[in-house]
């Protein structure tokens, strides 16, 4: 009964989403207050229905109901309870349901927050969110229904894909999706502003906290995904420029541009049309990413062909949502001119460069990701784009971006007088260069030009971001959460740059064949292979190796990497063993059985790799801090819109 109940709840949610969209958009257009009042009710009803559907599917997973096709495809009675819950979003249909669920939760949050907004604007925002939700619900019900029954029921499930059986999977998609979906709020605000034909600084102030929150979730989600890939896939890399990763990275880049552009719109009333475009773009890329990844379009060009019905639906949805928004933009954006100006060298110009460079970076990633698809569509033959393309093109836009950050953070709004800060800038740059080169060459004793450049930029960003807040703090001046959040996020970025530079420059990798008792040395560590033994898991059998690690004679750890064979899908996965030691990340993966007790073993020592994820987390925390700034909550107190009057440093 439960699957049918869930299916029914989803259909009701679809109808409520339609009502929400209609009453929101039409009610605001006609100024009908009763219609607009009905929107909130539709939002609540839809949230309850969607939550019911999720609960029903989850119950089928937990109760091992293999008469549900989706459960039979992605679960198994031997699967531990934790993964049976996580298996809900282990494949296409369930991920869509998760998307819809998170959208419903965001919409409820917006409905609560929107009570302070002008009723028309809030009705339009919720109406656009209803439209997005309607599209997703229709797509799910028409082509990807997770509640379909299997007749006869399967005796047991085909199990969750083994590489997804990991604690990382349980948390990674929900957090990533919360970020993705969160950009729909910025999108809805943008559409509402265009429908109104009016966009003021208050609008930017209302939009900012939502966007920054979504961005923080997305940052966390990407870092978790990278972390999961690092220890589960066993290749030892943390970023592969894989289409799936790119799909989450492009909205992040554009979203980063958006939160900076929104800051300018908020503080100075500038960049209005640019902010709108970025809001549309960030959401479009989230949409594209979710669909392309989940329908398998990007992973293999041919799986797009696998289900043309799904593909056509996706395309139609993209054209209606994105095409509609861009059409609205072409119509309304020209009216949203702002007449305030700024000088070259003012903070606005640095933020403009920030925006342009981030969009270029996203564009290069986009081109590289979609190149195979486009080549295939135009019959140019198979084409593969990898790190040799991504690394240099990405660096070309990101290096100037990092250099400009340290300058721009000291620039004033409106007036371009960077000369006042000349000495601060010079001193921090020199300190950064000395510190970075000293650490790189002192600790590791080698490096390339890019090592020095990267490390210097990273340290400079940290020093430059800290100068102003520390100065204000010493003088006993108050620091708003917005400023603290921004500083924390920039320090996180600086740390990320340092960590990435170090990892790229000083990683040591060895692939060796070891017999029991033999050892291999790498970067001051010694790895002694003790042999292998069989291990039994709940739904797999495994071979575990025992390797004793020492550093210059001192015991570090006993690592036990495994090779697992899952019973149902017969897939072999490599469980790497990872240990932190004095900032180094030691990774051990068990390779092939070479016979006579000899095994191939992969040893990697990556200095500071954990800092990459930690830095991303710090950035996300900075975002969360900034989003909780009091001025966003006090927005109701009708702040007089004084064009360009705000010259508070920082923020």
């Amino acid at each position: 009964m439960l699957p049918e109940l869930g299916h029914f709840a989803l259909i009701l949610a679809l109808l409520l989403a339609a009502l929400q969209a209609f009453f929101g958009v039409a009610g605001a257009a006609r100024g009908n207050e009763r219609w607009m009042a009905a929107v909130t009710t539709a939002v609540a009803g839809q949230a309850v229905m969607v939550a019911t559907a999720v609960a029903c599917l989850m119950a089928s997973f937990v109760g091992n109901d293999f008469s549900v096709a989706y459960v039979a495809e992605n679960s198994n009675s031997a699967l531990p309870l934790f993964y049976r819950v996580a298996a809900l979003w282990g494949a296409h249909e369930g991920s869509l349901l998760l998307w819809i669920f998170l959208l419903a939760m965001w919409t409820v949050a917006v409905a609560f927050g929107a009570r302070r907004l002008p009723p028309r604007l809030s009705a339009r925002v919720l109406g656009v969110l209803g439209l997005v939700s309607f599209g997703f619900l229709l797509f799910t019900l028409a082509t990807s229904n997770p509640f379909l029954r299997l007749d006869p029921a399967a005796a047991d499930g085909r199990d969750l894909n083994p590489i997804l059986q990991d604690p990382g999977l349980a948390v990674h998609p929900p957090i990533l999706y919360t970020g993705y979906v969160g950009f729909s709020v910025a999108f809805a605000f943008a559409c509402a502003a265009m429908l109104e034909g009016r966009l003021d600084q208050n609008w930017a102030r209302w939009t900012r906290p939502w966007t920054v929150t979504a961005w923080s979730f997305l940052t966390c989600g990407i870092a978790l995904g990278s972390f999961w890939a690092y220890y589960e896939l066993g290749w030892g890399g943390f970023w592969f420029w894989d289409p799936v990763e790119n799909a989450s990275f492009m909205p992040w880049l554009v979203g980063t541009a958006l939160i900076h552009s929104l800051a300018v719109t908020d503080k100075r009333g500038l960049f209005k049309s640019w902010t709108l475009l970025l809001a549309i773009l960030a959401f479009s890329l989230s949409l594209l990413g979710t669909f392309l990844v989940r329908s398998g379009v990007l992973v293999s060009v041919h799986s797009f062909a696998a289900d043309p019905q799904r593909g056509i639906f996706i395309l139609a949805f993209l054209i209606i949502m994105i095409g509609g928004a861009l059409g609205l933009y072409a119509w309304r954006a020209p009216q949203l001119r702002s007449n305030a100006g700024f000088e070259l060298g003012a903070r606005e110009s640095f933020l403009l460069f920030n925006n342009i460079l981030l969009v270029i970076a996203a564009g290069t990633v986009f081109a590289g990701t979609l190149a195979p698809l486009i080549a295939d569509a135009l019959k140019l033959g198979a084409l593969s784009v990898g790190p040799p393309y991504f690394n240099p093109t990405f660096l070309m836009s990101v290096l100037p971006l990092l250099a400009l950050l340290s300058l721009g953070i000291h620039a004033n709004w409106k007036r371009g007088r960077l000369q006042d800060k000349q000495r601060t800038l010079l001193y921090t740059l020199i300190a950064a260069a000395v510190l970075a080169c000293g650490l790189a060459f002192g600790l590791y004793g080698r490096g390339r030009l890019l090592t020095a450049v990267g490390a210097t930029l990273g340290v400079w960003i940290i020093l430059a971001s800290l100068v102003d807040p520390v100065d204000r703090w010493r003088r006993g001046l108050s620091l708003s959460r917005g400023v603290v959040g921004m500083t924390v996020a920039h320090v996180g970025l600086g740390l990320a740059v340092i960590a990435l530079t170090t990892v790229q420059s000083f990683t040591v990798e060895r692939d060796v064949a070891l017999s029991p008792g033999a050892s291999v040395a790498a970067a001051g560590y010694e790895f002694r292979f003790q042999g292998v033994r069989a291990v039994e898991g709940p739904n797999y059998s495994a071979i575990a190796a025992t390797v004793v690690v020492t550093h210059h004679g001192a015991a570090v750890a006993v690592l036990q990497p495994q090779k697992r064979q899952y019973w149902v899908q017969r897939q072999v996965t490599s469980e790497t063993a990872i240990r932190m030691y004095r900032g180094d990340n030691i990774l051990l993966a068990l390779g092939e059985d070479l016979g006579a007790g000899r095994w191939s073993v992969r040893v990697q020592i990556r200095p500071l790799v954990s800092l990459v994820w930690l830095a991303a987390f710090i950035m996300a925390c900075g975002g969360a801090l900034a989003a909780s700034d009091r001025r966003y909550r006090a927005a109701k107190a009708a702040v007089p819109v004084a064009q360009g009057a705000v010259t508070e440093p920082g923020a």
């Binding site: 039979a72 479009s284 060009v301 062909a305 020209p334 899908q569």
Partner: protein, 179 residues
Amino acid sequence: MSRFLLPLGVFLLLAVVLGIGIWHAPEKGVVTSPLLGKPAPQFSLPDLNQPTHQVRSVDLKGRWYLFNVWGTWCVECRAEHDMLLRVQRAGLVPLIGLDWKDDASQARAWLTQLGNPYQAVAVDTSGRVAIDWGVYGAPETFLVNPRGIVVYKHVGALTDAVWSKEILPRVSAAPPGKS
């Protein structure tokens, strides 16, 4: 105005490219295997019941057969077994089994205990042949025509519905020997 129309133009261009991508896709039906319409992968593996003999794909040419991937470790295969026995009794298409990553003595015990629906069972201990066939999990069943072309693939346990709706019409449309 034109400046503001540019994003829409770029997007529509992209939509056209994506549209072409879908257009080139096969008109209908879910493609579950890239093997469909292609020659079945060649193999030569030891026979489960006569280990000195080989089950070879070349010997199977000239008639329809169902290539069924199974293993004693696979719960779903046990559920499928009765259906396989019914297929054998129908006598329309011979079943060739692929015992996948399995213990041969356990597999023999399984067939003795539950009945042997297969004309021959190839033992694929290493899983190499299953990789050639693009097997994702067990059970999976491929229908191969007399010219050695894979015409249908079913993932999961074979059912009466699949047998009567998918397999039977294909086999009876071109009876054995008249390819």
